[in-house]
């Protein structure tokens, strides 16, 4: 490109150029690109040209919104807050600091039966899992089963890196603050006999997390051996290798642990706790009726005004219950349609004037 104009060329010249030399004609090429004549679509934004867009948006969004809304409404979901800050709450008793291993029971009724797979979540509110220092406080290499990292966790885990001169496994604040309530669901039968609802522990974490990202330290020895020389996180009662008797769900690959380690985006979040699998097509997974929730209340959230919930939900093609998206689509679609109408009016009114308008100065 001729942009770097070198003045020196003028001054010193090259060798004397012979008359009639080979210097070429400097006429620029007459190509569409160089002459900026590339074929182009040149939209002009006026009411007339834009209003189809608005109508199209309206026409597309409203049906989508309705679809989503209907889908979302078809999802059954029940949410039970068991924080227990209210004195009436059965879990209120567990709030006092000197109570250990408190178990409380909450009764609830399903008005409608839950079909299909039912997901059991625990939800936390006002829990800042996305806090910067909290998010960083983990060691992925350690969780991936790396031996070096197991015994010498990353500095990011401070101050939950070492405990009693032993490396903490799993280190860091996230692991340390792992949710440790135990929730059990019982269906109260007609004769007030309660049958426990079978809760599946596995399959709640991402497949890649369970199989790729999280790994126990390798070795044939029992898990306990592999985790020797490590300390349990300060807040934990049990060491990591005793999370679950099932070896496939123990240690770092314990799915509750994995789910917890996936830090939530917002301070109000839910995490998948258990799966209630559909038994057969004939019977609803959770028939309508009375249930009670048995909670081993360990996790202290009331100190920071947090709340704990248990959520039962079915899912649809678009995931859990989410009324917002449907409403949003309908709203945006309607607004767009309305604006389209406004533009139509304007276009109708001003078309003549704008067509005759000319550049005037």
């Amino acid at each position: 490109m001729a942009m770097n104009y070198n003045a020196k060329d003028e001054v010193d010249g090259g060798p004397p150029c012979a008359p009639g030399g080979t210097a070429k004609n400097r006429r620029p090429d007459n190509t569409a690109f160089k002459q900026q004549r590339l074929p182009a679509w040149q939209p002009i934004l006026t009411a007339g040209t834009v209003l189809p867009t608005f109508f199209i948006i309206g026409l597309i969004f409203i049906p989508i919104g309705i679809g989503i809304f209907v889908t979302s409404n078809n999802i059954r979901e029940i949410e039970i807050d068991y924080t227990g800050t209210e004195p009436s709450s059965p879990c209120n008793k567990c709030l006092s600091p000197n109570v250990t291993s408190c178990i409380c029971t909450i009764n609830f009724t399903l008005e409608q039966s839950f079909e299909g797979n039912v997901f059991m979540y625990y939800g936390l509110s006002n829990f800042y899992q996305n806090h910067r220092r909290y998010v960083k406080s983990r060691d992925d290499s350690q969780l991936n089963g790396d031996h070096g990292a197991l015994l010498n966790p990353s500095k990011e885990c401070e101050p939950y890196r070492r405990s009693e001169d032993k490396p903490i496994a799993p280190c860091g604040a996230i692991a340390n603050s792992m949710f440790n309530d135990t929730l059990e669901l019982y269906l109260v039968g007609n004769d007030s006999e309660s049958t426990p609802v079978p809760l599946k522990k596995k399959g709640i974490a991402w497949w890649t997390d369970k199989n790729v990202k999280f790994r126990n330290p390798s070795g044939d020895t029992p898990l306990e051996e592999r985790f020797k020389d490590t300390a349990k996180p300060v807040n934990w009662v049990k060491p990591v290798y005793m999370l679950d008797p099932d070896q496939d769900n123990n240690g770092f690959i314990n799915e509750d642990f994995i789910v917890w380690m996936r830090t939530a985006a917002l301070p109000t979040f839910r995490k998948l706790y258990r799966l209630i699998e559909r038994k057969s097509d004939l019977h609803p997974t959770l028939p309508a009726g009375r249930y009670y929730l048995n909670i081993t209340y360990n996790y202290p959230v009331h100190s920071f005004d947090g709340r704990k919930r248990m959520i039962l939900s079915t899912i649809s093609w678009m995931g859990g219950k989410n009324p917002f998206l449907g409403i949003a689509y309908i709203a945006i679609g309607s607004i767009s349609f309305l604006l389209g109408v406004v533009l139509l009016v304007i276009n109708h009114k001003y078309r003549n004037s704008s067509n005759t308008a000319d550049i005037t100065i």
Partner: protein, 1497 residues
């Protein structure tokens, strides 16, 4: 031999060396001493130095100075120094420092937001890109340096005692260099010897200043007399000269010979590096300045870097962004402090204590949070902004360069962009400051008319022929294969026709064939004949004058052998003869023959230098020779020349007519140039010439320093008074009957801008008298005339001639011709001797030489006898009026700053439509500061009173009294154009004083156009500076000559015209265009595009970053203001750099908001740039607000969609990133006005790149990217319908309002640009119409008059319409009918400079126009209006376009009016003529001030 000690020098410890050098420098003083390198070191120079060196010879002459060698090194870096030096330079950019600081901040553990290494990546990337660019540039510089350094030349070697070949870089100061013809001079060399017997050397300075004419250089005095060949070994003199400086036009010094004699050195002795030796076989010189100390390189300032206005505004907005960033961070910090305070004591589970277990205090946490926020939100200050802008500008420059419509076929040159970073300034220009000569005009001078001894020769045929040229030219532009216009040209019939035919064929052939080599050759050919376009060369002589000339010639040939040949002529004929002799010889034209370019036609008779000493004078002008007219000089000459030039010279013949020599010897190359060819009858001349014309070797070529000179010489040749030879001591003129007359050239007093004239002192061969011929500006020459008494008849006759001549001069000026007066003085021997004495003293004076020479010249150039005057046309360039009209429509104010005199300037201004005939012209010519102040006040009053325009009649009449319009205000008084202002140099000087400048500016701002005449280069730059600083306006200066350089440099945008006057303006400019008319497209199309593109891109950048940062900021409300980011750090860092950069670049480079043809037909669209419509504070903040809104939408839609879900941070953040990307692209889509496939590709590429990178990144490593660890996030998202749903709704929702308001605005309040686009869309056919028609398209309400119409309108047409009707239209168009231009039936007396002379001519020459009745009608009106004007206290006599009505009323009103002690131009009054005369003539004004301002009281 020099290099050996040089090598020995190197190992000296640097410290000592530096010390010594410093000491040396102290002693150096202000001169440089140069000795021959061949000499042994003088010894007594410097004891320490010689002690340190032992007996070693100093390698460099002088030994006391550190002198640069001739190695050219323009590179900035070496291999080793590149990295540190380049980094150092890059860190001068504040932005880079900032980004590095941010990146380093990441290494503080408590603060780090990203992986420290990753945070460095973008900064390193940017630095690396810039470094690579610098490296590449430096390498190309290195390569060209290397090439130049290894050119060879002959240097005298001491060992070999001969000239040996050396590289340029090995040349040192003090070396002797031998150069042969056509070699380029390697360093600044003092000319010591030349193969030319006169000790001359011709050089071409095209490389230096672009001037292709030959310049003469002279061997140092004292060396030219050497008989034998110059031997460097014997050179023992010492040269003392100035320190190296960059003044190309000055060199001073002296050479001290062994015997203590001194001789002065001047610039005529210096050969400058970069020039080419021509016409001289070989020269030898000693190197004075080498390498970077040469004047050529000192003048080379390299490319320029300016900061554009848009960039300045952008920087201001960047500061706003910084402020915003700090605010956001502070807010966040406070929030975090509060948050920490709230949750800390509550033992929240998510609170992470310090590593030692203690909790952070809220304040510390807040500080950390602040710093982290600055890192996280750094995207707000876009790191890629500067790089992107640079890329876009480079591309814009590329496209401007590539525009074929800016390519000039004639000169094979296109527009050059020398400044890379101010392209968008082109779209915002408000004021254009233009030079006149060479910028608006061609600077190709064409002889048009002349007047000799009071009789005008109008050269009608010539005018017709010129008109035909113009037609032919325009025709050539239209049709590409231009065979058709041939016969038309040939139809001139005369010999010129044949030559034209010949020439046009030669130039056309290459166009038809299109062969590049051929075209180049043709263009080279035309370059070699600088200042000799066919137009200049071919002059159709005026028959009357031709008759007289030949009569003269015949008479003289007849009377040649008598005692006083000239006495036989009538005074008029004698004047005519002298006039043509003066035209022919009073110049510095070099004669060359065309077949051997640059080969001097050598016809020597005698070798004699100009009179150099008194002895010389006495010897040569012995009384016997002077009185008897018969001398032995011929014999002496013959012997001398035989001695010098050898047998090739034939004997010279001394006639009894003293030094008259007849042509006897013929140059072998020009055998046809015999005297017998001219000996036939006078009437046979033309035919003879025509018959002989096809012989090409006949044609002599004239190389002139200025185009005027060439035009005059060619004109004289048309009258068969041909300059055939010029040597430094003699000039030969060929006349048909007289044959060859050889004039002994005694002195040439060159042209300078202060004297504004040049003179030659010659000895006339026919009379043996010493004559002085002076040619110069009429204002100068007229003052120097011999005062003639009014008593005797002769004196009265002279007086009459003078007044007539003055009259014609004014007429020429009215026509826009450049006028020159030719005068003569006969010196007696005693006078001459007396003058010579003082002149020689002045010449040999070492200091104050210029002043003394000036005084000396003034002594010589007095008491002149007026011969006549010439009118030379400096033709307007093609398309200048149209361009100016377009630029005007575009809202540009055009000021013309010219050094020319007022009349010429005004007339050119009329010709190029800068001034309109129906608008008023305020003329400011003040004599003193106070007068100027008073005038300015009046003008302001007037302009202000005028603007409300209560009653049209009243204003019109008051206007007539105080400001008479130049031309009758035509019937369109209702649409009142603002007046124009004309100011001369002196008044400008006053007006630019501190206390007046505001008033002046205020006045000038009201005016439609401003014309500053007689302004010096400094004043030009001051005006530009004033407008720039006071009005805060964007200025553009355009010029072509060295006198425009200062203004070009001062202006925001400097444009140079790569035209006739050399390269200096181009070198100083930011853009160089081949022609003025290209300015239109450059500004209106490219300027607009560049501005619009860049403005939109910058806005978009700010929008993009703000919006992106907004997303992060809103998130802080949900993460405890902990400076956490939900967007992965990789996306965060590379988003700007990779994912979203390409589409905006493509749009920034290619987007065309309005097509070029619409822009050209509707120039007012340009105003959007001037008013900063597209990028101003308002648009900026609107843009930011929109960005904030969009970020809100784009944040909260995903927020609500994922509220209380099990999405983790990055599963939620990635959709937001994607949404942001889609929103950006859609936003860009709304902003993009033209969608080419490149835009589509870029957008597609961006999306594809994002997803590809995200997928790869998310699949690459499970544990590698703490803390975000986004493994398989994207893949999971791709299977989630909610992801798509949010990605669809959020961008649409974010952009709906923008789209809606754009549409509303486009329908309801469309901007001019939008209308332009609609226009383009609606009628593409109309706009694709040929350029010519579109250019002529007139806008309603814009009163424009085409040239042809003006011609036809004429006096009568305008007269009938006009109430006041004092004056007719000036015949200002060259294309006007020849009758009109030939006979001054129409006189615009806007140039009332000499009241005395003009009136006479006028009264006799405006017969048809001014009938007495009109005068009577006129006068009462004026007198009636007079009180009004007096009461208004705004009586200002301006340009009075009164023609011949010298009514008493006028005078009385005038004298009332001008009671302020200041006088402007005013219409002359017949009654006062004599009085004026007597006052006027004898009082010579100071040379710089011209005569237009006359003090009345």
């Amino acid at each position: 031999m020099e290099r050996e000690p040089a090598a020995a020098d190197e190992p000296r410890p640097p410290g000592r060396r530096r010390r010594r050098r410093r000491r040396r420098r102290r002693r150096e003083g202000r001169t440089r001493t140069v000795r021959s390198n061949l000499l042994p070191f003088p010894g007594a120079e410097d004891p320490t130095a010689s002690a340190a060196k032992g007996a070693r010879r100093l390698r460099r002459c002088g030994g006391t100075q550190h002198l640069a060698d001739n190695r050219l090194k323009t590179t900035k870096y070496t291999l080793l120094s590149f990295l540190p030096k380049n980094l150092f330079e890059q860190f001068h950019r504040l932005a880079n420092v900032y980004f590095v600081f941010i990146a380093l901040l990441n290494f503080v553990p408590a603060v780090n937001a990203f992986q420290p290494g990753l945070a460095l990546a973008p900064v390193l990337f940017i630095l690396a890109v810039t470094a690579f660019k610098d490296l590449w540039e430096d390498y190309s510089r290195h390569r060209s340096d290397h090439e130049i350094n290894h050119l060879g030349c002959l240097v005298f070697s001491r060992e070999e005692k001969q000239y040996v070949n050396r590289f340029w870089k090995e040349i040192r100061v003090g070396d002797f260099v031998r150069l042969r013809c056509n070699e380029i001079i390697p360093a600044d060399i003092l000319l010591l010897s030349s193969s030319d017997p006169d000790g001359l050397c011709h050089i071409e300075t095209a490389n230096l200043d672009g001037e292709t004419n030959l310049k003469r250089r002279q061997v140092v005095r004292g060396f030219s007399e050497l008989v034998s060949e110059f031997n460097p070994l014997t050179f023992t003199s010492v040269i003392e000269c100035e320190k190296p400086n960059d003044d190309l036009t000055r060199f001073r010094g002296c050479i001290i010979h062994d015997n203590g004699k001194k001789a002065g050195l001047y610039k005529e002795n210096l050969l400058l590096r970069g020039c080419t030796i021509r016409n001289t076989e070989a020269v030898v010189g000693i190197v004075i300045y080498a390498g970077h100390e040469t004047k050529a390189l000192l003048n080379n300032s390299g490319p320029r870097y300016k900061r554009s206005q848009l960039e300045r505004q952008m920087n201001c907005d960047v500061l706003w962004c910084v402020l915003l960033l700090v605010c956001m961070s502070l807010f966040s910090a406070v929030g975090h402090g509060l948050w920490v305070q709230r949750y800390q004591e509550k033992k929240s589970l998510f609170d992470v204590p310090e590593s030692d277990g203690t909790s952070l205090s809220p304040v510390t946490a807040a500080v950390y949070s602040f710093l982290t926020m600055i890192i996280v939100l750094q995207v707000l200050i876009p790191i890629s902004l500067y790089v992107s802008i640079e890329i876009v500008k480079v591309c814009q420059v590329y496209f401007i360069n590539q525009d074929t419509e800016l390519y000039d076929e004639e000169t094979d040159s296109q527009l050059q962009c020398r400044a890379l970073n101010i392209t968008e300034d082109l779209g915002q220009i408000q004021y254009i400051f233009s030079d006149k000569t060479g910028t608006l005009t061609e600077n190709k001078m064409v002889f048009r008319r002349c007047t000799v001894s009071g009789i005008e020769y109008s050269h009608d045929a010539n005018a017709q022929r010129l008109a035909r040229y113009q037609e032919a030219d325009s025709e050539e532009e239209e049709v590409v294969p231009r065979g058709g216009s041939l016969p038309q040209r040939g139809s001139t019939g005369s010999h010129q026709g044949i030559r034209v035919l010949h020439r046009s064929q030669s130039t056309r052939s290459h166009r038809r064939t299109g062969s590049r080599a051929e075209a180049k050759r043709a263009s080279m050919l035309s370059r070699h004949t600088a200042f000799s376009s066919p137009m200049e060369k071919d002059i159709t002589p005026d028959p009357k004058l031709l008759e007289k000339v030949s009569e003269c010639d015949r008479c003289l040939a007849f009377a040649r052998h008598q005692e006083h040949p000239l006495a036989h002529l009538s005074p008029e004929l004698s004047d005519i003869f002298d006039f043509f002799i003066a035209l022919t010889i009073c110049n510095t034209v070099v004669v060359t023959s065309p077949d051997q370019p640059r080969q001097k036609v050598r016809v020597r008779f005698e070798l004699k230098s100009p009179v150099k000493t008194i002895e010389d004078f006495l010897r040569r002008f012995t009384p016997s020779r002077l009185t008897s007219g018969c001398s032995s000089i011929a014999g002496v000459a013959t012997s001398k020349s035989a001695h010098k030039s050898g047998p090739s010279l034939l004997s010279t013949l001394a006639n009894d007519g003293a030094l008259l020599r007849l042509e006897e010897r013929l140059d072998p190359q020009a055998p046809g140039l015999t005297s017998n060819g001219y000996s036939s009858g006078a009437d046979g001349w033309a035919q003879h010439k025509a018959a002989r014309e096809p012989e090409p070797e006949q044609e002599l070529r004239y190389e002139a320093e200025s185009p005027d000179e060439a035009a005059l010489v060619y004109a004289a040749r048309a009258y068969s008074c041909a300059l055939v030879d010029r040597l430094h001591d003699q000039v030969s003129v060929e006349l048909p009957h007289l044959g060859r007359l050889t004039f002994e050239l005694l002195h040439t007093l060159g042209f300078d801008s202060i004297r504004k004239r040049m003179s030659v002192v010659i000895r006339h061969p026919l009379t043996d008298e010493i004559n002085v011929y002076t040619k110069g500006a009429d204002s100068m020459v007229m003052d120097l005339l011999l005062p003639c008494s009014t008593d005797d008849a002769r004196g009265r006759h002279q007086m009459k001639i003078r007044s007539k001549t003055q009259n014609y001069l004014n007429l020429y000026a009215v026509e826009g011709l450049r006028t020159l007066c030719i005068a003569k003085r006969v010196l007696s021997k005693e006078e001459y001797a007396c003058w010579l004495q003082s002149h020689l003293e002045a010449e040999s004076a070492l200091d104050n030489r210029e002043e003394l020479l000036f005084q000396s010249a003034i002594r010589l150039e007095t008491n002149l006898h007026l011969l006549g005057a010439t009118g030379i046309e400096d033709r307007l360039q093609d398309g200048v009026p149209e361009t100016i009209a377009k630029l005007r429509q575009a809202g540009l104010q055009i000021w013309v700053l010219t050094g020319d005199k007022q009349e010429t300037a005004i007339n050119i201004a009329y010709a190029c439509k800068l001034l309109d005939h129906d608008e008023e012209v305020i003329t400011l010519n003040a004599e003193s500061q106070e007068a100027c102040a008073a005038l300015l006040d009046q003008c302001l009053h007037y302009v202000q009173s005028r603007s409300p325009r209560s009653a049209p009649e009243k204003t019109a009449s008051s206007m007539r009294v105080s400001f008479s319009p130049v031309c009758p205000p035509s019937a369109t008084t209702t649409s009142s154009p603002s007046p124009s202002l004309v100011i001369d140099g002196r008044s400008l000087a006053y007006a630019l004083e501190k206390n007046l400048e505001d008033k002046f500016l205020f006045l000038a701002k009201q005016c439609r156009s401003v014309l500053c005449c007689r302004s010096t280069p400094l004043q030009k730059s001051m005006v530009v500076k004033l407008v720039r600083s006071k009005l805060k306006a964007m200025t553009l200066a355009i010029g072509d000559g060295a006198n425009d350089v200062s203004m070009i440099q001062v202006a925001d945008v400097g444009v140079g015209i790569s035209g006739q006057e050399g390269m200096q303006a181009v070198m100083a400019s930011d853009f160089a265009v081949p022609r003025f008319r290209y300015l239109e497209r450059l500004l209106i199309v490219h300027g607009h595009w560049c501005y619009s593109r860049l403005a939109n891109m910058v806005l978009y950048f700010f929008y993009k970053n703000t919006m992106f940062v907004g997303l992060l900021f809103w998130f802080q409300f949900y993460c405890g203001f902990s400076a956490s980011a939900m967007i992965d750090q990789w996306y965060l860092i590379f988003f700007n750099l990779l994912f979203s950069s390409l589409p905006q670049l493509v749009t920034g480079v290619l987007d065309k908001d309005v097509p070029a043809d619409v822009l050209l037909t509707e120039p007012q669209l340009y105003k959007s740039g001037q008013n900063r419509e597209e990028y101003g504070p308002r648009t900026f903040w609107l843009n930011m607000a929109d960005a904030a809104f969009q970020s809100l939408v784009c944040f909260f839609i995903p927020y609500l969609a994922y509220y209380d879900s099990d999405a983790d941070m990055f599963t939620w953040g990635t959709p937001i990133t994607a949404i942001a990307l889609f929103t950006f692209l859609l936003h860009l889509g709304i902003e993009t006005k033209t969608w080419t496939w490149l835009n589509w590709t870029a957008c597609g590429f961006s999306i594809l790149l994002f997803f590809t990178v995200a997928l790869i990144y998310n699949a690459s490593c499970a544990t590698c990217y703490p803390p975000s660890n986004p493994y398989w996030t994207m893949q999971t998202l791709m299977g989630d319908p909610v992801f798509y749903l949010t990605c669809l709704i959020a961008p649409v929702a974010a952009l709906l309002p923008r789209l809606f308001f754009k549409a509303l605005q486009g329908s309801l309040f469309p901007t001019q640009l939008q209308l332009g686009r609609q226009l383009a869309k609606r009628s593409p056919k109309k706009l694709r119409a040929p350029k010519e028609t579109s250019a002529q398209e007139r806008l309603p309400g814009e009163p424009r008059t085409e040239p042809s119409e003006q011609g036809s309108l004429g006096p009568s047409g305008s007269f009938s319409q006009d109430r006041s009707s004092q004056v007719a239209w000036p015949a200002q168009q060259p294309a006007c009918s020849p009758e009109a231009s030939g006979e001054p039936s129409v006189v615009d007396v806007s140039v009332p400079l000499r009241e005395d002379t003009l009136l006479e001519g006028l009264s006799s020459q405006t017969p048809g126009l001014s009938s007495p009745g009109e005068v009577i009608l006129e006068c009462p009106g004026d007198s009636k209006m007079k009180p009004t004007s007096a009461s208004r206290a705004a009586p200002l006599s301006s340009i009075f376009s009164l023609s011949s009505f010298s009514s008493l009323n006028w005078i009385s009103s005038l004298s009332l009016v001008s009671g302020l002690g200041s006088v402007l131009q005013f219409s002359r009054s017949g009654l006062q003529m004599d009085k004026q005369d007597s006052e006027f003539l004898p009082s010579p004004l100071p040379p710089d001030q011209n005569l237009q301002a006359t003090d009345y009281f």
